[in-house]
């Protein structure tokens, strides 16, 4: 007993005690409360327990299905594009012969420091009916009539995917770049001597060495996309129709736009939790260390 509670472990516990307490109070306790809330339904302050009714409702709720579908669509299309783009750019920037490296790196990383709302507004003005893009296409005679990008279900999704990719590619690129710089150059040297081409080196050395980082970025990107909110709200408000509405926006609508039903909103949040957990598990299984 005395062995276990010697001075240094005690000291260690003192250090973690405060953060743990804070995490329990501000993170775990609300999670538990919202889990309880997800079994209740009602309006505003009038709530009653409904058991699993909210969860059953999820499966017959067309708006929820639409939101999930939209979010998964962003996920399936946007995340692979962004990660591949990030990887390729990182590879190009890692070239020791490249000049003005600092400039390129900053330029590509810069979108990440812009606020989510302001870049969404910027994209909105670019893709407006009298926006700069339409003006450009018109003056190049590529189109005859301005295209209402944000009013067409397909184009609106394309705009959102473009915007998110612009914003987050640099962020992932930095991770890859720093990981690449940790790869021992002698490995490449040996590969060159053995006659491996640059492409071969990229796929057989760089990518496998970056696997843990790729996995990490895939998980955080998945997580981020499932919680997508600012961009969609500011670009399209979920429209046209509900063609671009995300799950997070649906939660917001349920709580603050519609007659407030925080119980059902909590249920939808837990649906996200479950989806994130399942997807992360899947990614770990596919790309993780253990076979």
């Amino acid at each position: 007993m005395e062995r276990k509670w010697n001075k240094s472990t005690l000291m260690g516990w003192q250090f973690v005690a405060l953060p743990s307490a804070l995490i329990i109070i501000f993170s775990f306790y609300p999670m538990l409360q919202s889990l309880l809330l997800s079994f209740q339904s009602g309006k505003g302050t009038v709530y009653h327990y409904v058991g699993l009714d909210n969860y059953v409702r999820l499966f017959s709720d067309p708006m929820f299905k639409q939101a999930v579908l939209n979010t998964l669509l962003y996920l399936i299309i946007q995340v692979p594009i962004m990660l591949m783009l990030g990887l390729v750019i990182a590879h190009l920037l890692n070239n020791p012969k490249l000049r003005f490296k600092g400039f390129y790196r900053t330029a590509i990383f810069l979108p990440c420091v812009t606020s989510l709302v302001s870049y969404a507004v910027l994209f909105k003005s670019i893709f407006a009916v009298d926006g700069i893009l339409n003006q450009m296409l018109l003056s190049l005679h590529l189109i005859h009539e301005p295209i209402a990008w944000l009013m067409d279900p397909i184009w609106a999704r394309v705009v959102i995917i473009t915007a998110i990719t612009w914003r987050w590619t640099g962020y992932n690129m930095i991770f890859y770049l720093s990981a690449m710089q940790n790869i021992d150059p002698s490995i490449y040297e040996a590969a060159s001597i053995d006659g491996a081409s640059k492409t071969r080196q990229f796929f057989n050395i760089t990518v496998p060495m970056l696997k843990p980082i790729i996995l990490f970025t895939a998980i955080i990107s998945t997580n981020g996309t499932l919680q997508l909110f600012d961009e969609v709200v500011n670009l399209t408000k979920g429209g046209p129709g509900n063609a671009t509405m995300t799950i997070s926006q649906y939660i917001y609508n349920l709580s603050f736009v519609y007659t407030p039903n925080f119980g059902y909103a909590a249920t939808v949040s837990y649906a996200i939790v479950i989806m994130v957990a399942v997807l992360a598990l899947l990614q770990l299984k596919v790309g993780g260390e253990k076979r």
């Binding site: 009038v46 709720d61 063609a243 609508n253 519609y258 007659t259 407030p260």
Partner: protein, 437 residues
Amino acid sequence: MAKKKWLSVFVLVTMAASLLAGCGSSGSESKTAEGKEAGNSSKKKVVAWAWDPSFNGAALKIAKELYQKEHPDFDLEVVDMAKADLEQKLNTNLASGVKEGLPDILLVNDPNIQKYVTAYPNTFADFTDKVDFTKFSPYKVEALKIDNKIYGVPFDIGVTGMFYRSDYLEQAGYTAKDLENITWDQYIEIGKKVKEKTGKYMTTINPNDEALTSILLQSAGSWYITPDNKGNFVNNPAMTETLRVYKAIADSGIAKPVTGWSEFVGSFNAGDVATVVSGVWQVSSIMDAKDQSGKWRVAPIPRLNVSKAVNASNEGGSSWFVFNDSANKDLAMDFLAKTIGGSSEFYERFLKENGGVGSYIPAFSSEAYGQKSDFFGGQSIYRDFTKWSTEVPGITLGMYTQEAKDALKNELPNILQGADLTKSLANIQTLFEQQVH
């Protein structure tokens, strides 16, 4: 040594804890402390939440000045927030049951009235006997009535008109007479002529915005939902006609597509469109284009082709609520009742200083409401608007307006692409019913 370490940890913990505690309650505590202090020093302070310092916030300041003449010890603090922030803050506060930090007076957007009163029972004060509601436009009072109690003081209205560019319409061969009491089908015909003669669009269209459908529905005394909160999409001639007209406008090519508010305002400020069908509060945005002075006029809005439809409707508007649990409840109610709820002088000043139009009928005959506007070619626009405001059909906005609008928005692209209207309306009805459960 060990003692010292323990001490330092203890100090650290207490410091962090006090810091956090400070964060948590400082906002509300300082406010109540302020209020109490103010109360002791014979000034009675009422706090109000509003969302536009140059409009509803300014209105409160006028009301404060008027009330202070009789009650010199009265004081009012207006807290300005963005509208969405205000609504979010209110919902979280009320749902969590934390009453401190809430104001005494609250500005409520009319479509939210039923929602708040039903979702948060016993939260808002009953004004039924405090204000003479017969002096207000009936449709405004109707919106505030729930179970025969009236829960607030009617404030600004959004009585609609058809703003038009007289120069464009003249070029197309139309005079002011031709625009009085027309139907929407006539409007579309005029629009085609305008497009042909001037190359300008007649109006704008934004499938993401429900403003136009709302105006059309109310002009026929109908709404997205019935007074008992059921979907009102099937077997509703007004709804069918509204969507027919909406599609006709979209198909006719007379409407310029816009994706947001700034584009919408930009379209008429840049002179791209010949008409704007909107609430009276649009006057200030229209007058922003100084170079267009004298070219604008206002006519009544076109009419739907159904029985009971009129050439008048409403877009937007808000009302003032008081919290039941407020420490200054009686004072806050008296303040609102004596100013916004019953002072012609308030409405005259509000119109002159901020261009705001209320629903207080006695003020309509005042000089301020009769003034001629040079920007509108010498037309007494406010006299016209207030005249139309008494014709607006009264409707119950119900609890689920936003849900119903979103259900409609979901199907609108299909309708515009030519899907069978009866079938689409049935779809919307089903979607709505699944939503409100």
